[in-house]
Symmetry: C2
DNA sequence: ACCTGAACACCGTTCAAGT
DNA sequence: ACCTGAACACCGTTCAAGT
């Protein structure tokens, strides 16, 4: 008895999920149509083409991957160091970030995607810098230290191998200590 | 008068270039066949399928992205800190590393690709640790500091935004200083 | 207003047939 | 031994026709 009618939101939700699970190539009109129970022809009533759908899915991802995460972190704990650690955890295993690699790769070939990634990086870098400023009495080389932590966040998220006898949480914990020590010059 | 005949190496070279330029999706049999001046049917004489070609291209990438880079660095300069800086430069702009994002993304869905990336990470991490050990009198938390530097290398390679008033070389230089300072406990 | 169904293009894969 | 050419499947895109 359910109407087969699907709104743009249904397509976008399905596309976002496919994007996170399988990357940009997994966002294909015909399989999505099958999953939604309509024909692919109906897709073109709601969207210009496949690219428009990907763009809409990226909007969702951009929000979830920045403000969404930041709000959750801020709401969960108050201590800046605890926030960094939580941020670390969330960005390590979050399904919403599963598409991060695919999107950064995609950004190499699409300047509008590159603009998105730039916005996201800048926003996250701001957040990390704020946490660091709250943690550290000295503002010595705040930019450099924030970048160090953020790059560590991104890099460690993408690195498969881990050093012997350490887990990811330990890596960040030591990094924070390094970065705070480095401020005491 | 040139024979249209193409050996596996011709296909692999073309595939590697496509992989670095446009990611895994850009490695398509029919366009490559056109570029090589043969029909796509001939491709299947040399390879089982598209995946076998991608696999061969990954072999090339794996060598170029690890031993290839390391050999070039070692041959160019002797000082460990200079080596780190050169490593940084090479991994920032090298075309051979253009596929790095695509491959890491791909590794999420293919365990044999994940194995490759794990090997590469481990090898590079070893190299960074060796340089760090040569630089630093103290072996205090060598693992953690090597991981920090390597993650910074990877992360900064993938981050689009840069902190205001700093270029990438400066970021690494400060990071190395941090990491060396952190050893003096 | 929204969807179906048929059509066409592009590419992966197979294979019989050519040289 | 290596390649062509035709065939088929899958998916992106268009569009006339249905409700």
């Amino acid at each position: 008895m359910t109407t087969p009618r699907k709104g743009p939101e249904d397509w976008i939700a399905a596309a976002f999920k496919a994007l996170a699970d399988g990357g940009a190539d997994a966002v294909r009109v015909e399989p999505l149509a099958r999953a939604l129970g309509v024909t692919k022809g109906s897709f073109y009533w709601h969207f210009t083409d496949r690219n428009a759908l990907l763009d809409a899915a990226l909007d969702t991802w951009e929000r979830a991957g920045t403000e969404g995460i930041i709000e959750r972190v801020d709401a969960s704990v108050a201590d800046p160091r605890a926030r960094l650690l939580l941020l670390w955890e969330l960005t390590s295993g979050e399904p919403g970030l599963g598409a991060e690699l695919a999107i950064r790769d995609w950004a190499r070939r699409d300047s509008s995607v590159a603009d998105r990634v730039r916005r996201i990086d800048a926003r996250r870098l701001d957040y990390v810098r704020d946490l660091l400023a709250a943690l550290s009495p000295s503002s010595h080389d705040l930019e450099g230290r924030a970048m160090l932590l953020y790059a560590l966040l991104i890099g460690n998220f993408f690195i498969v191998a881990q050093p012997a006898g350490m887990d990811r949480a330990e890596v960040l914990d030591r990094a924070v200590t390094f970065v705070l020590d480095a401020a005491r010059v």
